[in-house]
Subunit: 138 residues, 3 copies
Amino acid sequence: MHQQTLELNPRPRGFHLITTEIIQAIPQIAAFKTGICQVFIQHTSASLTINENADPTVRKDFETYFSKSVPENDPDYVHNDEGPDDMPAHLKAALLGSSVMIPVRNGRLALGMWQGVYLCEHRDHGGRRKLVITVWGE
Amino acid sequence: MHQQTLELNPRPRGFHLITTEIIQAIPQIAAFKTGICQVFIQHTSASLTINENADPTVRKDFETYFSKSVPENDPDYVHNDEGPDDMPAHLKAALLGSSVMIPVRNGRLALGMWQGVYLCEHRDHGGRRKLVITVWGE
Amino acid sequence: MHQQTLELNPRPRGFHLITTEIIQAIPQIAAFKTGICQVFIQHTSASLTINENADPTVRKDFETYFSKSVPENDPDYVHNDEGPDDMPAHLKAALLGSSVMIPVRNGRLALGMWQGVYLCEHRDHGGRRKLVITVWGE
């Protein structure tokens, strides 16, 4: 089992491909013939998901959909100390999830041809984001 | 650790119980007294979740809810090269997730009495879907 | 690898922090320098997620959002034998997920400073909820 942290530079609000950054951070994966890689985000207003790695308009439409589906300034929100993007960020993070789990095969992530890992930044100014990456197997 | 692929025959758009197919594909699970089974889908327009394994109307209502909640033909979508079901399929896949993780106990999946694994087919014509199943433990 | 069950006392409908209960249930985690902890819920009308561990208004707003976003009494639902909270509970459980996976580091859950584990109780009278907790690593 190999475990490490990875700190991502600040990204603007939206959905960002980080597959390459993850792969470059864990050369140790080459030693695993069969395994699993977990990427975990230590925050509650950003999240991780797996989706299309090609056309950037998919990531644009993700931001459009989630910002419409989890509205800001809902008068029913009680928690809004940190601004209108605060509570929606928590809700989007729960909908998308705090980790992704990817099989490892022959020393590489066994992603499908069109799959990539997204950092989902739900805050207007989220800052640096800390990940914990764990790989285990044989 | 045991790892293998499983290719599912095409299903119509909607939610489909695949627990039996998974169990039949991994007789090796019998050797694990304690463990975890991950089922991962290598696609971005279909997903996996765990829900009620009994009444088929639950699966029907899943399709109704998700098709209403993630509408087709939203004029704000930019990515729609492959038809009106394209972008909504990506969004539904992210909401539901690309893998399920099930504890293994005494050589069997430790699902609750009412739990089953769903293939969530979000495309009108999704075709065959590839899964990677990994089991590890003792 | 360590695996055990944990039965939670009934909670009212809503979102409840259970991090302390989980930690107290698994003193064995202290033996793992590096690892992963999975918490799995054996139900289809309650779920688990990770979110803010501090301000209780976040959990209140979660209930507000999810009850608005997954409405009761939608005339399109077919499955409603067990009352208006039945089908929405299944849908919310699928949106939030049946398990959380947390890295383990130096014998402790490697949660971020603001992260806690939520039991998401989607039924009006959900009763006791059974979890399976599995920890593995070195």
